[in-house]
């Protein structure tokens, strides 16, 4: 896919575990795991907003466009 989710990089930078993020964002760990692997079909702005708040980052740091 052309859109790559860099959630694992951001989690490593913030030294946060997926489970902790799941609690902060209110999204199940299963969904976050699927998001981390870029297997989701879509992401809600509200979810993106919560992730950005929890990780204190910009959406561009989580999502990246790669030329395929």
């Amino acid at each position: 896919m052309a859109i790559v989710v860099n959630l694992d990089i951001m989690l490593a930078k913030r030294k946060m575990k997926l489970k902790e993020l799941s609690v902060l964002v209110g999204v199940s760990t299963v969904n976050l795991s699927i998001l981390k692997q870029s297997k989701v079909k879509a992401i809600r702005f509200s979810t993106l907003d919560s992730i950005c708040k929890a990780l204190n980052c910009q959406p561009g740091e989580i999502l990246e466009h790669v030329k395929s």
């Binding site: 999204v27 199940s28 299963v30 969904n31 976050l32 795991s33 699927i34 998001l35 692997q37 297997k39 989701v40 079909k41 879509a42 992401i43 809600r44 979810t47």
Partner: protein
């Protein structure tokens, strides 16, 4: 996602009709000849068989009995769905999808990657069993879904509806 759908064959209905005729015709003639004894035995036999099916329904052990093509007392619909999500994650995802849907999670066996979900009794059905087995290696996963009516030879479209509802649930859950 890749969908491969197997629709029930017409020959299933023919087998069912022949078996019913083989069972019912001698029974009914026996009813005429023997009289009151058979009047009691036949419904009791059917009732006990129904109760037996009801008891074994919520167990994965009897999966093969319900989904077997030889079992003509159930209407079945088999389908396969392929997704590029690892097997472990897909198993957890399916449990989440079932819990968020109208289906009731009855048994989940992570060692064999098998799930049994059921639906409740309605005007058109005694309830259906949905057997899901997850197979695959690496990133590719194939889910084998089999919706089976309970003690009912015609599903009134319930099996198809269950399958569609399940797929809709999976699709919706992929939006986080």
């Amino acid at each position: 996602m890749k969908y491969i759908t197997h629709t029930p064959r017409k020959s299933d209905f023919v087998i069912w009709a022949v078996c019913s005729a083989v069972i019912l015709i001698p029974s009914l003639s026996g009813f005429v000849l023997v009289g009151e004894d058979l009047l009691l035995i036949l419904p009791l036999g059917i009732l006990s068989f129904f109760m037996f099916n009801l008891l074994i329904r919520r167990s994965l052990t009897f999966k093969n009995y319900f989904i077997s093509p030889i079992n003509v007392l159930t209407s079945k619909m088999r389908s396969e769905v392929s997704m590029s999500i690892p097997k472990d994650l897909m198993f957890d995802k399916m449990i989440e999808v079932i819990n968020d849907s109208k289906f009731k999670l009855t048994v989940s066996d992570k060692s064999n990657y098998e799930i049994l979900a059921t639906t409740g009794i309605s005007w058109f059905s005694w309830g259906e069993n949905i057997y899901i087995s997850i197979e695959g290696e690496g990133e590719e996963t194939t889910m084998k879904i089999c919706s089976v009516t309970f003690f009912q030879v015609y599903s009134w479209g319930r099996n198809e509806r269950n399958y569609n509802d399940l797929l809709k649930g999976i699709e919706e859950s992929l939006t986080v």
